[in-house]
Amino acid sequence: MNFIAHLFARYQLSHMLILALLLIVVLPLSMDIFRLNLIGKYLTYAFVAIGLVLCWGYGGILSLGQGVFFGLGGYCMAMFLKLEASSPENTAIQTTPGIPDFMDWNQLTELPWFWEPFHSFGFTLLAIILVPAFFAFVVTVAMFKRRVGGVYFAIITQAVAAILTILIIGQQGYTGGVNGITDLRTLHGWDIRTDEAKYILYFVCVALLFVCLFIGKYVINSKLGRLLVAMREREDRVRFSGYDVSAFKIFIFCLASVFSAIGGAMFTLQIGFMSPTFVGIVPSIEMVIFCAVGGRLSLLGAVYGALLVNAAKTSFSESFPELWLFAMGALFIGVVMAFPNGLAGVWTTYIEPRLPARLRSPVPPSTIPAVAVTTTAETSSTPSANPTVEHRHAGN
């Protein structure tokens, strides 16, 4: 009993249960499939937001290019589905039957080599995880091993997002260009456009989201999580303590990018197409906003943030098609001004203290490691620490 109570406290299981109840029972019962499919779409952004909580909220690595990984995951899935939709029978009217329609428009006469493996579903699933992870690995190794961080890293991620968008749009014969990869129909002969399929995909999406949430919780509660917070607060002290800082940063960034890619793949499945509009700078920044609104130190907050911001976007734009952008702007400014810690901050400062004691989570776990590690770092640093070095830290 004690063990379970401990588990509950450690993983904030009660909060998880509320979210699970909401996503698995309340929403599917109260919404028709059109709205539920929209919720499913919002949840795919929640994957990105969870990743951002880990790498930005805990690791202090602000990435303004998460759309890149969302896009890579989405494109991998879209390539598989597109190949299945472009069977020679379906594309008989083309000059070259059996290749995707946009290749035919661009006068390609055979399938490019890097499309070939996407005939296999197993390979596609692997690619959804490995391609973004590899890409994130290359970018972060190049950056973090050279101790490039902070604002510079954020700018570089933006540049990567811009480059990838330009690449996808420019190489339209291979990627579908501005139009993206559209008209995806079946997955192994299973029609993904029916209402029934949309229900199933929604629950798959929710299940994967919880897998990611648990991985995230596990990471935060582990020693790695404490190190991340320590690095965020005082990177040099962690380095002086003998840790290879860059390795942890690379790991957490790759993990965040894999989460984003899973979101992207689920997006493609639920919406039925992928386009470069998700890869660019604007959507990437939007994803950071979801995370900020939800609270960048709370995994669950990120999910609520993604849900709330997107639901607001949909309902504002449906009610005031000409003014909705202003309403969104007001929402962002309002949240950031009034609640710097986002929705999660509202919960911990205003709502939780008023709850009966046994419903409260013991102490928000995010604060424990921060305090603990800072004190150990403090004691381990030599008394003769150079004040000018200290000063530079503060500047960082």
Binding site: F34, F102, N179, G180, T182, R193, I271, S275, P321, E322
Partner: protein, 419 residues
């Protein structure tokens, strides 16, 4: 609209009237329930948003984002057409009510909103989309939920959906006549093809090249593409100077146009001298507004409609448009095509005697419109319009002067053989 105002009323008033109203709700529901079978008559047997006095349609364009500047004209034209139809008594005795959604220049948003219009609002038709990308994004939605889209933009062809009526020209209609005219009237032999890098210019130039080389027996001396939004055209201007083509055939779109024509002028090329001659398929009066008449004076455009078109239909249309939206407004090719959408839909519904999508689709081929501002149009079996193509000559005031008009209606041919 109606249900909204009713909700609004019920929130007002004293508690007693509220109570009475609350009691009335079940009664109203029961009534509605009884009257449902009556509604499901032959005019609407599939549960579309049609009442005894109204029919709801959707308008789906970008009114925010980069495409807003292009799509605003289409929204205005569609609203004007709807107003005029309502003033004439509506469609099958019903007034048209529209639900407008914003595609926000974002293709996934277009798909989401299209789905909302079809699934939630059950609209009888949707007038909307502008870019090919947005059309490609909504196409599966319209086919899955069996909606009807009236798409106004001139586009690349290679598409024929049972759920779309294409009221703009497809590529061959717009291009071949223009090239024939250049070959014939201007005795052009050497062509330079220039476009923005996406599907429409690529497909257009593919068709143009085939036509120039195989049909006209002329030469293409260059073919260049620049990314959307590109603003540095000096290198291509130098190439044009070097290769000395007779005709530069241009399908540059959006903001790039402004840079391109200004830089042409700055490079000392006088477009009025027609050496080379500039022939565009992408610059309508709307774009000239941004480019400036003085920067583009002297080029030619090949499309189906110009605001200056001298006929009675068009004069009435321009007058009504200006009365509604102000005297400074200009009307381009796409705006006129968007205006046709509600009229063509009305004609098809009246021919079918029903709002049912399947019946409207079946009635659509051979629907003709004698009141179109561009003159007479007719819907082909392939859901595109028979239309004439005109050549306009850009004037200092930002208007085109029509210098040539095809003698016959041109048959739409979205899948051209041999191109």
């Amino acid at each position: 609209m109606i249900s909204k105002s009713r909700n609004y009323d019920s929130t007002r008033g004293t508690r007693r009237t509220l109570l009475r109203r609350m009691l009335a709700i079940p009664a109203a529901l029961a009534l509605a329930h009884v009257s449902l079978p009556a509604l499901a008559d032959s005019a609407n047997s599939t549960g579309l948003a049609v009442t005894d006095s109204t029919v709801t349609v959707g308008i789906l364009h970008s009114i925010t984002g980069t495409m807003a500047i292009s799509e605003t004209g289409s929204v205005q034209a569609e609203k004007l057409a709807i107003d005029q139809i309502n003033a004439m008594g509506g469609v099958l005795g019903r007034q048209i009510v529209y639900t407008q959604e914003d595609g926000a220049s974002d293709w996934p948003t277009f798909a989401e909103k299209a789905k909302k219009l079809l699934v939630r609002d059950k609209v009888a038709a949707v007038f909307g989309c502008w870019t090919s990308a947005s059309r490609k994004a909504v196409l599966p939605v319209f086919e899955q939920y069996n909606g009807m889209l009236y798409y106004p933009t001139f586009y690349e062809g290679l598409e024929q959906s049972p759920n779309v009526i294409y009221t703009g020209q497809e590529a061959t209609q717009q291009i071949l006549e223009g090239l024939d005219w250049a070959d014939d009237a201007k005795d052009a032999k050497k062509y330079f093809l220039l476009g923005s890098d996406y599907i429409w210019p690529r497909t257009s130039n593919k068709i143009a090249r085939k036509h120039i080389e195989s049909v006209l027996g002329d030469k293409v001396v260059g073919e260049e593409y620049y990314p959307l939004g590109h603003t540095q055209f000096n290198s291509v201007i130098n190439k044009i100077k070097l290769k000395k083509p007779d005709v530069v055939f241009i399908s540059v779109v959006g903001g790039s146009n402004v840079a391109f024509y200004k830089q042409l002028k700055a490079a000392g090329i006088d477009m009025t001298k027609e050496k080379p001659l500039f022939l565009t398929i992408s610059v309508t009066e709307d774009e000239i507004l941004g480019i400036g008449g003085e920067n583009i004076d002297g080029i030619y455009a090949s499309m189906k409609y110009f605001q200056s078109l001298p006929n009675a239909n068009n004069e009435a249309f321009v007058k009504a448009f200006k009365a509604k939206y102000g005297d400074d407004i200009v009307i381009g090719d796409v705006t006129q095509a968007a205006y046709l959408g509600p009229w063509l839909w009305k004609a098809a519904v009246e021919k079918a005697g029903s709002f049912d999508i399947d019946k409207v689709r079946a009635a659509s081929p051979d629907i003709e419109l004698t009141t179109a501002p561009e003159g007479y149009v007719r819907i082909h079996d392939n859901h595109h319009l028979w239309s004439k193509t005109r050549i306009g000559h850009a004037q200092l005031d930002g208007q085109y002067k029509v210098v040539y008009e095809s003698s016959e209606l041109i048959e739409p041919n979205p899948f051209p053989e041999g191109y």
